[in-house]
């Protein structure tokens, strides 16, 4: 007996198999169709400038959505990302206002550290307190947002109070394209390598698909769960610094509602809410698709009120499609 690769079986792979295996292909096809339709109505869609705008708009989303993805892979969810961004943004903005001479890399490190600390509270509540992730992070979503008000006393930090150095972090063009896009790309590559080629990444998938079997195989699921909320906090911290840099302000409502966008990007990108399934490429494409839709709706002059509805519709389509594909594959 051998491990046989028979041609017959490969030939039997049908469209449903392909869709389930290569979710990314489906998203790309969808993006192309959408792009074609929009270009017909608004030819300016197909310009380098417009593409740069789209990518600038989704860079922070992609970074934080990748953290969200790592959490969802373990069957969890982190609803507190938006408030972590709000809190960290406010704190680093205050530091920069007070000490405008601080080197930018120190600010980035500070943002990472603060984000990780915020994430660690989620980790502790979920792993030691045994609170379901959706409840735990729903709690910290409010707590952290409350802390933003407490910390800022309701005031904002405006553009003129921030040093030029931080603004250039995202807008500078060290290597051609805006730094923000390159930073997002860099982080996406790191997360990709982490999930695909490290033991920890492998264990995250294992815990998410079958926590019991993972434990029987010697993985310590609580450690993995602790880690993923730390990572989500870390990436939210980076997102916060970039947010301040790009929007040149820190407000009490910074990133309000952003958590749902990160979940949307992940789910559209093929990350399964039931854990264990999802890729970095998919999530990045999911974020790009969201960006294109926002951009397209503006270009073809559809009211921004529709944007939310369009996002919602997209998430439903993605989830239903997943279900359909899964049952088709299971039946075959």
């Amino acid at each position: 007996m051998t491990i046989q690769v028979s041609k017959g079986t490969t030939a039997r792979l049908n469209i449903w198999d392909l869709l389930s295996r290569f979710r990314e292909v489906g998203i790309i096809v969808f993006i192309l169709i959408l792009g074609a339709v929009v270009t017909l109505r608004a030819p300016s869609f197909l310009s380098v400038n417009n593409f740069r705008d789209i990518l600038m708009n989704i860079s922070i989303l992609a970074i934080v959505a990748l953290g969200q993805t790592i959490v969802i892979l373990t069957k969890g969810i982190d609803l507190s990302v938006s408030s972590m961004i709000g809190l960290v943004a406010m704190m680093v903005a205050f530091v920069m206002k007070q000490y405008p001479e601080t080197p930018v890399f120190l600010i980035v490190l500070l943002g990472m550290a603060l984000g990780t600390i915020a994430g660690s509270f989620n980790s502790i509540i979920i792993t030691f307190g045994k609170v379901p992730p959706i409840i735990a992070t729903l709690g910290t979503l409010s707590v952290y947002r409350g802390l933003v008000f407490f910390y800022s006393q309701g005031t904002w930090i405006n553009s003129y109070e921030l040093p030029r150095s931080i603004k250039m972090l995202s807008k500078g063009q060290l290597l051609g394209p805006p730094n923000l896009i390159l930073i997002a790309l860099f982080i996406a590559i790191i997360v990709y390598l982490f999930l695909k080629f490290t033991r920890t990444g492998r264990n995250i998938y294992a815990v998410g698909s079958n926590v019991e079997a993972a434990e029987y195989a010697g993985i310590r699921p609580q450690r993995i769960k602790f880690l993923v909320y730390l990572i989500s906090g870390l990436l939210s911290g980076i997102g916060a610094v970039l947010w301040v840099s790009r929007f040149e302000s820190a407000q009490t409502n910074t990133a309000l509602g952003f958590e749902l966008q990160t979940v949307t990007a992940a789910v559209i990108g093929g990350v399964s809410i039931s854990g264990g399934v999802g890729t970095v490429t998919g999530v990045v494409l999911g974020a790009i698709l969201l960006g294109i839709i926002q951009n397209a709706l503006t270009l073809v002059r559809i009211s921004p009120f529709w944007q939310l509805a369009a996002q919602g519709l997209l998430i439903l389509v993605a989830v239903v499609l997943d279900k359909v594909i899964y049952t088709r594959v299971a039946r075959n």
């Binding site: 007996m1 051998t2 491990i3 046989q4 690769v5 028979s6 079986t9 490969t10 080629f197 490290t198 033991r199 920890t200 492998r202 264990n203 998938y205 294992a206 698909s209 079958n210 019991e212 079997a213 993972a214 434990e215 029987y216 195989a217 010697g218 993985i219 310590r220 264990g276 399934v277």
Partner: protein, 502 residues
């Protein structure tokens, strides 16, 4: 002619090609307790599920009151007056007794509002007619198991059940509770209810049953009056087969004691378990389903550590509080439930195999793909896994091939002590033989193997020594030469509480 309420003729049922019932006949009379007897896997549960319409027979006829019937689902059979009470009780813990009895069929005022007064009156009448006393306003979660059973029986009778099926109703009851249950069963019998009673405790059957039907390996063996039979006679009918030397067990040289378990106790699961396991030895652990064998294995492997007792590995006392520790100490555990505990179904074969010892295929945290792939390929090849490639998803494999992947996965950890829990359950004959061959080879290489199995031929064919568990206790030790099917069944069904062998 004696009146028959339910008659099954030549019932056959196959699951994915394996026939689990072969032309089984069965008849039930009103006012009798008819016991259904057989080893694990003899087909009792399947037969019950055919009667209740959960499964449809592939072949054969069911007559109810002399009329041919076909049950499409369990609702169908319930409407015909057949009720079943399973080992796992299905009450709603937060509803009270009366509500549980009438759940889904509350009496209504004007077809709208629940008539609570009527509900409690009717519930009380029902319990009175059964001759039992339970507080109707008590929440189900506060009831003892025996009381919960009674509520289930009351529920069955609130829909006018004429045939009551009880699957192992006494397995978790105390002696007093069993007596209470039996007096209720006798009342029901008096009133003309026909009862199908499944139990592994032979002595109980002599106490309560009128007739008994014995099944073995899915075949109908015999039906007889309880008064005209004996315990030995029934045991012989249950076992009734001879073991050929289809088991490739070779004598291996026994080495040092690798694993020693002393007085291991976990409240409510098992008590005072002691045994030792030597290098090169296969220790068979026999017993009925639910005897606590898996619990013992899980506690040794650190999944649910025992409350008290001592575990020593190669003479050194150890505490194992997680599988992670167990693996590092050289243990491996092939679990009973391979879908739930053995495999990551959404992952491919390769990562499944490398999972427990991933550090061996990695430098620091970085997985060395080539090394991992090479190993997985050779492991899969050695185990003769049949798959499209080593990148096929584990869930797409057949049961036998999944088990081979699980075995490959655990052998990749180079264990010294291997615990196999029902290693051949639900897999095809060919794979089964391969697994047995592998076990024999591994023992010859010096591994210490603890094999839990509910299949007596496997236990007898593969083990050097055998221990038998019953209700959380070790009830017998046998050497390979002294063990027989009859002795093991006797030890597995012997009454622990009274210590008597009837």
């Amino acid at each position: 002619m004696i009146k028959t309420i339910l008659r099954l003729e030549d019932i056959s049922k196959r699951f994915s090609g394996v026939e689990v019932l072969h032309d089984v006949c069965f008849d039930l009379r009103p006012g009798e307790v008819h016991a259904l007897l057989g080893e694990n896997g003899a087909g009792k549960s399947t037969l019950v599920k055919v009667i209740t319409g959960y499964h449809q027979p592939d072949h054969g006829k069911i007559y109810l009151d002399g009329e041919l019937v076909e049950f499409i689902d369990t609702r169908d059979s319930r409407q015909a007056g057949i009720a079943a009470i399973y080992q796992e009780l299905s009450l709603f813990p937060d509803l009270d007794v009366a509500e549980n009895i009438f759940v889904g069929r509350h009496p209504l005022n004007y077809g709208m509002k629940v008539d609570w007064r009527k509900l409690y009156i009717e519930a009380q009448e029902l319990l009175d007619s059964l001759g039992v006393k339970i507080d109707l306003k008590q929440k189900a979660r506060h009831l003892s198991i025996a009381q919960q059973q009674i509520v289930e029986i009351a529920r069955a009778f609130s829909i006018n059940a004429r045939i009551l099926i009880m699957d192992e109703p006494t397995s978790s009851l105390t002696l007093n509770e069993v007596a209470e249950l039996f007096s209720l069963v006798r009342n029901l019998r008096e009133s003309g209810t026909a009862i199908i009673f499944i139990s592994h405790r032979l002595e109980e059957l002599f106490e309560i049953a009128d007739r008994v039907t014995v099944l073995r390996d899915g075949y109908y063996i015999d039906t007889c009056n309880m008064q005209e039979t004996s315990r030995d006679d029934l045991l012989r009918k249950m076992v009734g087969r001879t073991i050929s030397d289809q088991y490739p067990k070779v004598e291996a040289k026994k080495g040092d004691v690798f694993l020693q378990v002393e007085h291991l106790t976990s409240d409510g699961l098992f008590t005072d378990i002691s045994f030792e396991l030597r290098a090169g030895e296969i220790l068979g652990m026999a017993g009925l389903v639910g005897a606590g064998r898996t619990n013992v294995a899980e506690s040794i492997f650190g999944i649910r550590p025992a409350g008290s007792g001592k575990i020593s590995i190669e003479g050194k006392e150890v505490t194992i509080s997680s599988p992670h520790q167990a693996i590092n100490l050289g243990l491996a555990y092939v679990p009973e439930d391979r879908q739930q505990h053995g495999l990551i179904p959404k992952m491919q074969i390769t990562p499944n195999i490398s999972l427990p010892k991933l550090e061996e295929f990695a430098k620091y945290n970085w997985i060395l793909n080539k090394k991992e792939r090479k190993f997985a390929y050779s492991a899969a090849l050695q185990m003769e896994v049949r798959a499209r490639s080593i990148w096929q998803l584990a869930r797409e494999l057949s049961g036998g091939n999944q088990q081979k992947v699980v075995l490959a996965k655990w052998l990749s950890t180079h264990p010294r002590i291997l615990i196999l829990d029902e290693p051949t359950r639900g897999i095809d004959v060919g794979t089964k033989a391969a697994v047995h061959k592998l076990m024999s080879d591994l023992a010859a290489e010096g591994l210490a193997i603890l094999m839990i199995s509910s299949e007596l031929p496997e236990i007898l064919g593969m083990s050097d020594r055998i221990i038998v568990m019953r209700e959380g206790h070790v009830t017998a030790h046998f050497s390979r030469t002294e063990a027989t099917q009859e002795k093991i069944i006797a030890a597995a069904t012997q009454n622990v509480r009274t210590g008597t062998l009837q």
